[in-house]
């Protein structure tokens, strides 16, 4: 090479300028292309945020924690955001209540009906996104794995100190445990992923195959429960009892205690506190605890007591404000998380901002939007009759058919919580603001069936939204929708994850299994009854007389009270499984009935208006009759006690499918 270059030089001396210039150019090109290449292919430094830059200061690290919140806290509303990675635990287009005996979803898009028709399976289960839960767990693991990197410094929003670090670890662990709880009550034992999975590429037979580590095979139910309890137990000591006003909504000690309590209550329940799951597959430890052990009720009772004691000490109590009245107290307790009167919500979800009038809960939930969302949430009459009572705490009877005026009279006397959860024919809208445009505050117009008893559903109405078919099930579910802002239709959605009433009922339930004569049972139940507007369970009360001293009657009573108090809050669906009563007639199986109105004479029912006199209104009502009829025959199979894993994941060969699916 050197010789070549030397020769070049010699030759170049004898060359013409032009030629030597050319050669120089060529050489320069060649050399520069070979030696200047380092910079040529450089990718300019970008502003990529890596895991290290997230965890190198407290502000950013806290953003990682908010991400764990946003992807982990359970939300049962119809937000339509499930696909975006936010928590959204309802079915795609309806509340989970439509998938149990609490409710029914009517309309072409009503996918919770799959649960009622028995057509849900490993390919179409869309109530629960395993992928989204796994994302929440991954985010929690990312936080827990990297939080040690955060330096103890002060940045604009946070001063990082050992105490804060431990607290955030506690928050992340409770959030992770919450995800595991949600998985467990659906699937049983699940894969336990407590580190961030990595991609590993292995060369097999000359082909690169991807695996992840850890792979995530299912663990026993006991391991899963232990994992949840461990996270809770580790979090309880480091979490604060309360937060300043700016941070309300974060995981506090109560949330950890609550999660522990519900986990232990589930573990004590008949579904898993046994040596035999509903369907046996040879892998029973995935679905039950291997024996029946009454001390599990003891543990559950103690955990509930710990939570109730904590609540008392920290000012948590059921909302029972005379100024609001019984109905609105109950309403506010459920959803008005930030109302200063409400000290009942221990943990709620706030992964969504304020939603405007078009919020999905309104679109799909509110009857006037029926034609918009094509789905309505209804309350089957048989559920109402078997759970709710009248004002006096007595069971309600409604003849199979009769006239509208009579029906109205019966329903008017229903207990306050019924009025809080349902619109019924002739009831009033709680807020008139939203509905005024539709011409009055009488609900009958959208809850009746025009024509005769055999006619097609035809809805008449003043507003265009009302043209179409009416609510065929007669009672329209209104819990949560109630809190939609009267004036502009906006709503701040706070999904109740842990509400104090639940723990009075759980405490009573667990104590009854340990010792039915423990007076604490009735004390706890009366807390709930008092706020609910029912007479207290005390001597002289019919219910008191009926259950006193009878464990089974107490149990049934507690279950009934739970169905009423926790209506629509994603409890009933799991409670009937936990109690192993889902297969009973009228629970998840059998005939479901509705009530509907029809015109009984040639005289047409007219739209009620505010200008109607009571006499005119009464005359108008007389044109209608009602009838109770079966609308659905629901299917239950015992495999449904546990969810199927998605078939596409089972096909990958690492997840053991639950039996029967």
């Amino acid at each position: 090479m050197l010789v070549l270059i030397y020769n070049f030089k010699v030759k170049m001396n004898t060359m013409k300028k032009s030629e030597s210039f050319f050669i120089f150019l060529m050489l320069a090109l060649f050399v520069s292309s070979q030696y200047a290449c380092k910079d040529y292919l450089e990718q300019p430094e970008g502003s990529i945020i890596t895991v290290d830059s997230v965890f190198n200061n407290p502000d950013n690290a806290m953003r990682a924690l908010w991400n764990v919140y946003a992807t982990s806290v359970v939300n049962g509303f119809i937000t339509g955001d499930g696909g975006s990675g936010l928590s959204d635990a309802g079915t795609v287009d309806g509340l989970l209540l439509g998938a149990s005996d609490e409710g029914d979803q009517f309309g072409s898009g009503g996918r919770s009906n799959q649960f009622n028709a028995g057509t849900w399976n490993a390919n179409n289960q869309d109530e629960f996104s395993l992928g989204r839960v796994m994302l929440g767990i991954r985010n929690a693991n990312i936080f827990l794995e990297n939080v040690d990197k955060v330096p103890f410094i002060t940045t604009s929003n946070y001063t990082w100190a050992p105490q804060l670090k431990e607290q955030t670890i506690g928050e992340a662990k409770v959030l992770r445990a919450l995800m595991y709880y949600e998985m467990m009550i659906r699937y049983g034992g699940v894969p336990i992923i407590n580190e961030v999975p990595k991609v590993v590429i292995n060369e097999v037979d000359g082909i690169s195959r991807a695996e992840i580590s850890p792979l995530g095979v299912r663990r026993s139910l006991k391991s899963t429960i232990d994992f949840i309890l461990k996270d809770c137990n580790e979090a309880i000591p480091v979490l604060p009892n309360s937060y300043p006003n700016s941070d309300i909504g974060r995981i506090n000690k109560g949330a950890a205690l609550a999660l522990k309590a519900v986990t232990l209550l589930w573990a004590a329940s008949p579904l898993v506190n046994t040596d035999k799951p509903p369907l046996s597959s040879g892998f029973d430890s995935l679905l039950c605890l291997g024996n029946t052990d009454n001390s599990r009720w003891n543990a559950a009772a103690e955990a509930h007591k710990a939570l109730l004691d904590w609540a008392t000490q920290n000012g948590y109590r059921l909302l029972d404000d005379p100024a609001l009245g019984k109905i609105e107290s109950y309403n506010y307790a459920t959803g008005a998380a930030l109302d200063p009167r409400n000290k009942e919500l221990i943990l709620y979800d706030k992964s969504h901002g304020q939603q405007a009038g078009g919020a999905n809960i309104v679109r799909w939930g509110c009857p006037i939007y029926f034609s918009w969302g094509n789905v309505v949430m209804a309350v089957p009459i048989n559920f109402v009759l078997k759970t709710f009572r009248d004002n006096d705490g007595n069971d309600v009877q409604i003849p199979n058919q009769g006239n509208f005026t009579e029906l109205k009279a019966i329903l008017k006397k229903m207990e306050p919580r019924f009025h809080a959860i349902a619109w019924w024919p002739g009831s009033q809208y709680t807020f008139t603001g939203l509905m005024n445009a539709q011409g009055g505050n009488d609900t009958a117009k959208f809850l009746f069936k025009k024509g005769n008893i055999n006619g097609n559903f035809v809805q008449t109405g003043a507003g265009t939204q009302l043209i179409g078919i009416g609510v065929p099930n007669g009672f329209h579910q209104k819990k949560f929708i109630n809190l939609v802002n009267a004036n502009n239709g906006t709503v701040n959605l706070y999904w109740p994850v842990f509400r104090l009433s639940e723990f009075y009922l759980g405490y009573a339930e667990a104590l009854n299994e340990v010792n039915p004569s423990n007076p604490e049972i009735l004390n706890a139940l009366n807390e709930v009854r008092k706020r609910g507007g029912l007479p207290l369970l005390e001597p002289g009360n019919n219910t008191y007389q009926a259950i006193l001293g009878n464990q089974s009657n107490i149990r049934n009573y507690i279950r009934r009270e739970r169905a009423v108090e926790l209506y629509g809050e994603e409890h009933r669906f799991f409670d009937v499984r936990r109690w192993k009563i889902a297969q009973d007639e009228g629970v998840m199986k059998g005939q479901f009935s509705r009530i509907f109105l029809f015109e009984n004479s040639t005289k047409a029912y007219v739209q009620p208006t505010t200008s109607m006199t009571p006499a005119q209104r009464s005359d108008n009502d007389k044109t209608l009759s009602y009838k109770i009829e079966t609308f659905e025959n629901r299917i239950w199979e015992d495999k449904m006690y546990f969810y199927p894993f998605p078939q596409s994941e089972v096909n990958k060969g690492f997840l053991k499918q639950n039996p029967g699916w």
Binding site: E19, S33, W66, N67, V73, V199, S208, R209, K350
Partner: protein
């Protein structure tokens, strides 16, 4: 010494890169006095000057001021024992003068000593050559030419002496081939001069030379024939027989260089540029299919300017998606678009197919390479070629629509089927009667929407004028092209302000120059510019056609009384809100103005002085592209049509009245968009090429660098590489090649940017062995083999996947009494630090042979490729938590194999007729070997093991014909049957035998949408001046899965229906045994319903055979035109896509899987002529 005439006119002087070049155009000095020629000469002169002034704007043509006296200028020199040459070089260095001489005639290597002190240059020069009878003269101002006073005239003197010597000699003769057929247009050149001519229609030529030139040598050449030389001497008639076949010297363009054709060991095939010209299509890309083995092509649409087809070399071997399977296209050595090239400028088009040919392209070569080189000037007088083409395009293979009566009747039948009520109907007999009679044309119309919207004929025209020529040291090729193609919309011009009809105009200019600056140094400049000026409807084409397919024959005409109608009140039924005409016009129009500039500048320097056979070369290129799309809309006036309310009778009511629906608005600007990109490219190489004794060696080392800026905020795309090639041959019998590409791009992580791509190949010409029997049956036999590794970095368009896992702003969580939104940080992407290119391991085994006395030549190649590292999304378990965030990994593996055959036959029949047949056949089949697919419950569902693009669907087994078949309890139930099936529904096979028909019964159905087999057959017959060429092209193993409007009648109850709807199932038709190709009719076919699931029932065999091109040409022999300087005049008519044989009832078989909403393919009839002068 002869006096110099026209000196200043003849010598055009350029200054470029400090190189002085004296460029002389001899033709100005010739044949003075003959007026027609003078006219042409003037024309030529003006033209050439015009072109030059365009190109060399920066080049000065001014005269130097110190004109006269260079010979009188004084110079001091003192040199001992140097050659005369060195003396001259020294003087050139010191003075602004250039010397020219013929070194063969003038011995400049003689050593002398010289000592001059302030002597005049003329004196120095005189002394230099004293006693040697060497003269010199000043040409122009700075050039001195030496001429020998001996009888041997130097080259440079010939031209001048031509002017003064009067005694000329005319040489005549005839050039024929071995079959004694005249070769028309063969070149005859007096070697070492620009003097030459071409043969005429009879193969005859005549060339006038001077007395002195009889000592010269004539060179005869013709494309596809071996060159031949002949001494002139005292012969005045020289007849020459040229031998056909690849000359041993014939070279083929390969990657980064050329190789002798005989020594090729890889798989390279060529398409003759003339074949490309036969196809009257706008894009070269659409003329390639079937022309040579190895090209698989599909053209999906015929819309002007948007009809560029897809090309795959030897099929597809990757499933990475996007454009990742397309070949690398190089134009003059730089990656460039195939779209806008003027076919008249193409010198050669070669297809590099195997690893041996493509390894040098390294990371970009795996999908094959198409190399196009543009024409360069050839030494000789300016040769003008003018081509003119006028054609008409005609949309072909449009679906045949049902007429109104048929539509109404069948729609009634569908209604009855759906409601299960024989009396249910949408149209009364009275309505049907109106459709039939046509007496109520506005409210009972009968419209064929294709007929209504599309013209039968739309024009196109294409012109090209080029000139090439040059002297020994400067050659040029300049070409001007123009193409104008009109679209098929009949009613696109309803409003004066704009046209929605597509129009595509393209202007091409190319100027290629080659200069020999000295014996060793040559330079070239290739510059081309393409300007595109197109007009389209602003509505997407697919929307327009989708609306046509949404329309039905009973929708009213949309023009009444020259008014455009939106709604027709009182229409029987089914007016869609967007009529096809409205869809075409309401969005206005857009203009696309694009300009593309491509420039290559390069040179080569031979270093023979240093090492014999060594040379260096280099090139820089710059491309720039700009496209502006300007959208304008207009609120178009629209009316509603009503029955006349005052009408007293039906007769009166058929005359409608119009009511304004929408008022007219002005044309308004509606935004614009731009595409801007540019590319910088440089390469430099050292080459070695040497033959000694029986050995031949070539070697190449080349460096490349490319930077491409794609506009926007994209970082530039960079490539950097080294290429090397070494070939060795022994006795032109044994060949060994090694090709290595080493290159990389910024798209891969540091340390993993570069890859090495080696290939080895060998060839063996058995027929050259002494032991090989010299028979006529096998005259030539060669075996070739290659193996190598090539890369593909077009991995689905992803960039910088190696970037570390990144976090981005995530969703808010809301805390506190104020519901404060707290933004999160969530994982954005999870990086793949090891991302790399696809790797193709390619094997090629081939043979070339000629049999029956060279009459038939055959090439056969077998190829096999394994493509691994295909970038594919991981299918990780859900427990990963964020599987969708993982960057794709290089885990896919596919294979592709097949064979290709090329065959040629050429013969004569009688004296005057020659004919030839050329055929080629390509078969390529791929298979997905691995793609990280979830194991499927049934093997038929897996993509792994299937072909790329293989559709999965249910297997149809005819229709249910009787109620008994439906009622059969053993019949597998379909999960889509809803209320139950009926006779006339499709019967599917329960493939997995689980007793039900569901998605798990899907299997491979049909073939992929890109053919596995493509073949072409060209037949040519020549008789006297006539020439007929027929080109047939076909494809096999290809399917089209058309859905929606393309096959199903009455979608949504209102959409179109084709004539095939009459072949529906009805009990009556079944019992009569009539052809049934359609299930029972319904008014709402949907893909989610039983009959319309993806299934083999709807799969169509898209194989076809096309009469792709026919050309009839006549070359006019002696004619008065010759007197005007016309050398050759060829007129022709040709046609494209003349006829198609296919099983597809509607639509062109090259259509993509779709609902048929595409601009149709066109048939083109074209007439043109080609004039050389």
């Amino acid at each position: 010494m002869p006096k110099l005439l026209f000196q200043e006119e003849g010598a055009v002087k350029y200054d470029f890169m400090s190189v002085t070049l004296n460029f002389k155009l001899d033709f100005f000095m010739k044949n003075k006095g003959e007026s027609p020629k003078i006219l042409i000469n003037v024309m030529k002169k003006t033209f050439v000057q015009f072109i030059f002034s365009i190109i060399f704007v920066s080049i000065s043509a001014a005269n130097d001021s110190h004109a006269q006296g260079i010979l009188n200028q004084k110079i001091s020199l003192s040199l001992e024992e140097v050659t005369i040459k060195e003396v001259l070089q020294e003087i050139e260095e010191k003075m602004d003068v250039k010397f020219s001489y013929n070194s063969r005639k003038i011995n400049v290597n003689e050593r002398i000593s010289i000592n001059s002190k302030e002597n005049e240059l003329s004196e120095v020069l005189t002394n230099l050559f004293k006693k040697k009878n060497i003269n010199f003269e000043l040409v122009g101002t700075r050039q001195v030419i030496f001429t020998s006073g001996n009888e041997d005239y130097a080259t440079q003197t010939l031209v001048k002496s031509n002017l003064v010597l009067t005694k000329n000699i005319v040489i005549t003769g005839k050039v024929t081939n071995e079959q004694n057929e005249p070769l028309i247009g063969a070149s005859v050149l007096l070697q070492g001069t620009t003097k030459g001519t071409t043969t005429d229609i009879e193969g005859s030529y005549s060339l006038e030379i001077t007395e002195e030139e009889i000592k010269g040598v004539l060179l005869f050449s013709y494309v596809g024939y071996e060159n031949k030389t002949s001494l002139i001497g005292l012969n005045t008639i020289i007849n020459i027989v040229l031998k056909e076949g690849a000359s041993l010297e014939e070279v083929v363009v390969v990657g980064y260089g050329t190789q002798k054709k005989v020594s090729l060991t890889g798989a390279v095939s060529s398409i003759k540029p003339n074949d490309l010209l036969k196809a009257p299509v706008s894009s070269v890309a659409n003329a390639l299919g079937g022309r040579t083995a190895g090209i698989i092509s599909v053209q999906r649409t015929g819309e002007p300017g948007r009809d560029i087809g897809d090309i795959f070399i030897r099929g597809i071997a990757t499933f990475a998606g996007g454009t990742s399977a397309g070949p690398l296209v190089l134009v003059d050595g730089v990656e460039r678009s195939l779209a806008g090239i003027d076919p008249y400028t193409i010198e050669s088009l070669n297809v590099l197919k195997d690893a041996s040919a493509t390894a040098v392209f390294g990371v970009r070569g795996a999908n094959g390479v198409i190399i196009i080189t543009t024409k360069t000037g050839e030494q000789g007088k300016p040769q003008f070629t003018f081509s003119s083409n006028l054609g008409v395009q005609n949309p072909i293979r449009l679906p045949k629509l049902l007429d109104a009566v048929g539509y109404a009747q069948l729609r009634n039948e569908a209604e009855a089927n759906d409601l299960n009520n024989i009396n249910a109907r949408k149209f009364s007999d009275w309505d049907i009667e109106r459709f039939k009679i046509g007496d109520d044309p506005y409210f009972h119309p009968n419209i064929d929407w294709f007929d209504y919207m599309l013209k039968e004929r739309s024009p196109q025209q294409q012109y090209n004028l080029n000139v090439s020529g040059g002297m020994q040291n400067a050659r040029y090729f300049v070409s001007l092209g123009f193409l104008d193609q009109d679209g098929a919309y009949k009613v696109g011009d309803l409003f004066k302000e704009f046209s929605a009809n597509p129009n595509y105009k393209r202007y091409n200019i190319r100027t290629n120059f080659d200069f020999n600056l000295s014996k060793n140094l040559s330079l070239f400049i290739k510059a081309s510019s393409e300007i595109q000026d197109a007009n389209y409807a602003n509505s997407a084409t697919r929307d327009i056609f989708s609306t046509i397919l949404s329309a039905n024959p009973i929708m009213s005409p949309v023009i009444f009384d020259n008014k455009m109608i939106r709604n027709v009140e009182g229409l029987t039924a089914f007016q869609i809100s967007n009529t096809p005409l409205y869809q075409m016009l309401f969005n206005g129009y857009n203009t696309n103005f694009g300009s593309r500039l491509n420039i290559n500048i390069g040179g080569r320097y031979k270093l023979d002085n240093l090492v014999k056979g060594l040379s260096i070369r280099g090139m820089v290129a710059y491309d720039s592209y700009y496209l502006q799309t300007n959208r304008r809309t207009k609120q178009i006036p629209m009316y509603d049509l009503r029955r006349n309310p005052t009408a007293k009778s039906f007769q009166d009511s058929i005359n409608p009245i119009t009511v304004v629906n929408q008022f007219e608005g002005p044309v308004i600007f509606n935004g614009e968009s731009f595409v801007k990109n540019r590319k910088e490219y440089a390469e430099a190489a050292i080459e070695y090429n040497k033959n000694f004794n029986d050995h031949g060696i070539t070697a190449l080392i080349l460096g490349t660098a490319e930077r491409y800026y794609d506009g926007g905020n994209q970082l530039p795309f960079n490539y950097l590489g080294v290429v090397s090639r070494a070939t060795y041959q022994f006795k032109t019998k044994y060949f060994f090649d090694v090709n290595v590409g080493y290159n990389g791009s910024e798209n891969f992580a540091k340390g993993k940017q570069f890859g090495l791509f080696p290939s080895f190949s060998t060839g063996y010409i058995v027929s050259s062995e002494p032991f090989f029997p010299k028979t006529k049956s096998i005259s030539y036999l060669k075996f070739r083999g290659s193996y190598g590794i090539v890369g593909n970095d077009k991995i689905g368009g992803n960039r910088f996947l190696f970037t570390p896992s990144s976090f981005v702003s995530g969703a808010n969580y809301f805390l506190g009494l104020a519901n404060t939104p707290l933004p999160g940080y969530r994982e954005g992407t999870i990086g793949n630090p090891n991302v790399t290119w696809e790797q193709a391991k390619k094997l090629n085994i081939g043979t070339d042979f000629r049999i029956i006395n060279d009459l038939i030549s055959v090439s056969v190649d077998y190829f096999k490729e394994e493509r691994n590292n295909i970038l594919w999304n991981l299918n990780v378990p859900i427990t990963f938590g964020a599987g969708n965030l993982i960057s794709p990994y290089n885990i896919g593996v596919a294979e592709n194999k097949g064979f290709e055959v090329e065959m040629g036959y050429r013969a004569t029949a009688g004296k005057a007729v020659t004919y030839s047949i050329n055929g080629n056949y390509t078969f390529a089949r791929n298979k997905i070997v691995y793609m990280d697919e979830t194991p499927q419950p049934f093997p038929g569902l897996a993509a792994t093991g299937s072909r790329i693009g293989q559709l999965k669907g249910l297997l149809a087994n005819g229709l249910f014909n009787t109620a008994e078949e439906i009622a059969d309890p053993s019949r597998p139930k379909s999960v889509w049957e809803g209320a139950g099936l009926k006779p006339g529904d499709i019967r599917y096979v329960d493939v997995n035998e689980d007793g039900k028909i569901d998605d798990n019964d899907r299997v491979n159905i049909g073939n992929p949408n890109i053919p596995e087999i493509i073949y072409g057959l060209t037949t040519g017959i020549q008789w006297k001046g006539f020439e007929l060429t027929i080109f047939l092209q076909g494809a096999e193993n290809v399917s089209a899965y058309l859905t929606g409007e393309a096959v199903w009648p009455f979608i949504a109850g209102t959409k179109t229906a084709f004539e095939n709807a009459t072949e529906r199932w009805t009990e009556e038709r079944y019992l009569k045994g009539e052809t049934i190709s359609m299930p029972r009719l319904t008014a709402s076919p949907e893909a989610t319903k039983h009959n319309y699931r993806t299934s083999s029932f709807w799969m169509q065999d898209a194989s076809y055979l096309r009469l792709k091109n026919v050309e009839l040409a006549y070359t006019i022999g002696k004619s008065p035109l010759n007197k005007l300087g016309v050398k050759s005049f060829r007129i022709y008519i040709n046609g494209q896509n003349l006829y198609t044989w296919t099983k597809m009832p509607f639509f062109d078989p090259e259509i993509a899987n779709s609902n048929g909403a595409v601009y149709p393919m066109t048939r083109i009839f074209n007439a043109g002529f080609n004039l050389q002068f």
